[in-house]
Symmetry: C2
Subunit: 213 residues, 2 copies
């Protein structure tokens, strides 16, 4: 049985119910920790469920943020330093990643507060999460203010990637399940998918068929 919600009915729902519902509607989300460093050297991290692929040539990613809420440190540090890291979240520390959404004072290291380990790789000025099996350094490229609700799409260029080798398949596809990487539902739900399948390139003259099957 399908439950129907008209827009006029959504507006009458309790605010938290509506937020949970709408946040769950788009399906599974990426879960990543963004690492930054303040002007005064404080190491910052924050969990984001909005990191998306924007392009491969050149490698570009995006994520959305609200400048006047919990993620403001991240936004300010990125604007000031031009640098950030994106770090995957595995089952073993998804609780700590979730905890990084708490609003700690800006002068405290959130790595320390949640119990994750900062790590510097390559020439990145922003800290990586040592525990992450897939992570990359990004430089700030641009931002697009979404005038409809004041959120901002930040665009970053991937500079350097670090991946656990066993996750990389022969053709470059990454098996996220090998390191129990998390996906998210809504604002506070997490799961670690298992046993992904792949399909061959879809063409009008072929039927869907599994890759390597």
């Amino acid at each position: 049985m399908l439950k129907q919600y008209k827009l006029s009915e959504l507006d009458l729902l309790p605010s938290r119910f509506k937020a949970n519902l709408i946040n769950s509607c788009t399906g599974y989300k990426s879960i990543n920790i963004i690492g930054t460093k303040s002007d005064s050297g404080v190491e910052n991290l924050a969990i984001f469920n909005s990191v998306i692929h924007l392009g491969s040539h050149p490698p570009l990613i995006g994520f959305t943020t609200r400048p006047l809420t919990v993620q403001r440190d991240t936004y300010d540090h990125i604007k000031a330093s031009g640098q950030f890291t994106i770090n995957s979240v595995s089952a073993a520390f998804v609780d700590k990643a979730h905890q990084s959404a708490a609003k700690y004072p800006s002068d405290q290291s959130e790595f320390e507060k949640v119990g994750l380990t900062p790590e510097y790789l390559g020439n990145s000025l922003a800290p990586f999460v040592s525990e992450s099996a897939l992570k990359y350094q990004c430089s700030y490229v641009n931002e697009y203010p979404i005038i409809e609700n004041g959120c901002i799409l930040i665009v970053g260029a991937i500079q350097e990637i670090y991946i656990a080798e066993d996750m990389i398949s022969e053709d470059g596809w990454i098996d996220l399940s090998k390191r129990e990487i998390s996906t998210g539902i809504g604002l506070d739900g997490y799961a670690q998918p298992k046993d992904p399948i792949r399909f061959e390139y879809a063409s009008p003259t072929t039927k869907p068929s599994l890759k390597n099957a």
Copy 2:
């Protein structure tokens, strides 16, 4: 052991390897079918792995598209009609959803070609996917051309939602796993997460704890 790819090394990789790698880097993606209808009444569908939550008050979603590639029908129909539907993908028809990425001629119904069923609910002029357990009607709101690579972020406003009732929890959170809804890795990988967990709201004065545990 972490494998390192510098930007200069990424540029030397075979194009397909690089595309698979970069497309997998952001983590798990949402998988949805977007339904539209052409001026001449042809029902169109296409799989998208870029639908994201933009806001709950009002309910806004976004997705990225490249106007000159496979998704052009979807973009043209949305621009002309102002309407589209977003439909979740369950394990039972993920093969058909993947097949909708094939470049069928614009005058053919992709519902028919891939074997999914068009359905009209409420006052939507765009077809829904009957098989989907979670779907909603959207109106076109705005678009943001991403100047760095020519892709476009389309913003849509949710008008009316249809959800299998057993997926809706008491506080509005949707358990996508109850209907084996798919998530994606890269360009061609799919999985159906099981047993999601939820955490309580993160605060600086509390430790992470499971909801309803």
